[in-house]
């Protein structure tokens, strides 16, 4: 089973990388970009028997730092 974990910074956590990307986009002449937040995508190939709670645990124990980040799990059909 292919699983995608999308890790993003929590709302309210300042994102210096997102801000730098935002500035760079403006520098390239792209107007109308209101905000940029950078995150991370981790693709897993796991046994079909892997439970949702095991996936949650992988995310909260390692893949995301719950102090500053949220995660979302997407399973490929």
């Amino acid at each position: 089973m292919k699983v995608r974990v999308i890790v993003t910074l929590k709302n309210g956590v300042l994102d210096p990388q997102g801000r730098a990307i935002h500035h760079a986009l403006e520098g390239l002449g792209f107007d109308g970009v209101n905000d940029v937040r950078a995150g991370r995508v981790i693709e897993l190939d796991v046994a079909d028997s892997t439970t949702d709670s095991a996936l949650d645990e992988m995310c909260s124990k390692l893949l995301a730092n719950m102090v500053i980040e949220n995660y979302r799990i997407e399973k490929a059909a």
């Binding site: 300042l14 210096p16 990388q17 124990k61 390692l62 730092n65 102090v67 500053i68």
Partner: protein, 225 residues
């Protein structure tokens, strides 16, 4: 009993030797060098130091992989037993990732790596690590980091401030840290994480010796205990 300490080396640590030399010179006793894959620590440790560097290439997040390495399970158990633990720079990042200290260290607000001497204020001089300083004393210690921007939610910040757990604060803007926090203690006071490098300021040849009192405090605190 002779002072017994351990410096943990992760793949990518690069301040481990400096740390060991500082401990040898200031604290004396026996300094064990411990590899990250070791499941056990030497017996009867008084002090464990997690050095600076770029453990595991900062993969995933700074300190994230090191915090899950075999030796860190032993470090967490030792900290829970009351062993004194110091994490400097990457060591601070490892301690937050391991859950021994609150908060997280994010990319510097200015994006750039910051490598220079900075002025710090000693906020709490009652701790095991800072008793050798005066309250409010200003000291100079170098920083060298990309991810030193301390973050915690407001409730956590209020709590650690109220409990006197901010050991050091930057006296100038350095990396965007919340409330300019440079070093944080755990609730029991036996674990300190800080981004500045006290081990790089222990004698005049290094440009100053403001870091020396930290190591002296640790030894004195343990002898007194």
């Amino acid at each position: 009993m002779a002072f017994t300490s351990a410096v943990i080396t992760f793949p990518g640590s690069n301040c481990d030797r400096d740390m060991a030399v500082a401990i040898e010179q200031v604290c004396g006793g026996t300094v064990h060098r411990v590899w990250h894959g070791d499941a056990d620590l030497p017996d009867n440790l008084d002090f464990i130091a997690l050095p600076g560097g770029f453990s595991y290439g900062d993969y995933l997040r700074s300190g994230a992989m090191a915090a899950r390495s075999p030796v860190m399970q032993a470090v967490v158990r030792a900290a829970e037993r009351g062993v004194t633990v110091l994490g400097v720079c990457n060591g601070f990042q490892v301690l937050t990732e391991a859950g021994l200290l609150p908060g997280a260290l994010m990319r510097n607000a200015g994006i750039r790596f910051v490598c220079r001497d900075v002025a710090l204020t000693v906020e709490n001089n009652q701790s095991l690590f800072t008793a050798g300083y005066d309250a409010g004393q200003q000291i100079t210690i170098p920083v060298a980091h990309h991810d030193g921007n301390y973050f915690a939610d407001d409730a956590t910040l209020d709590r650690i401030e109220g409990e006197g757990r901010v050991a050091f604060r930057y006296a100038e803007a350095v990396n965007g840290s919340a409330r300019n926090i440079a070093g944080v203690l755990n609730d029991r006071g036996n674990v300190l994480g800080m981004m500045p490098h006290p081990e790089r300021m222990i004698e005049a040849a290094q440009g100053g010796s403001d870091g020396r009192a930290l190591f002296e405090s640790v030894v004195r605190g343990l002898v007194a205990a």
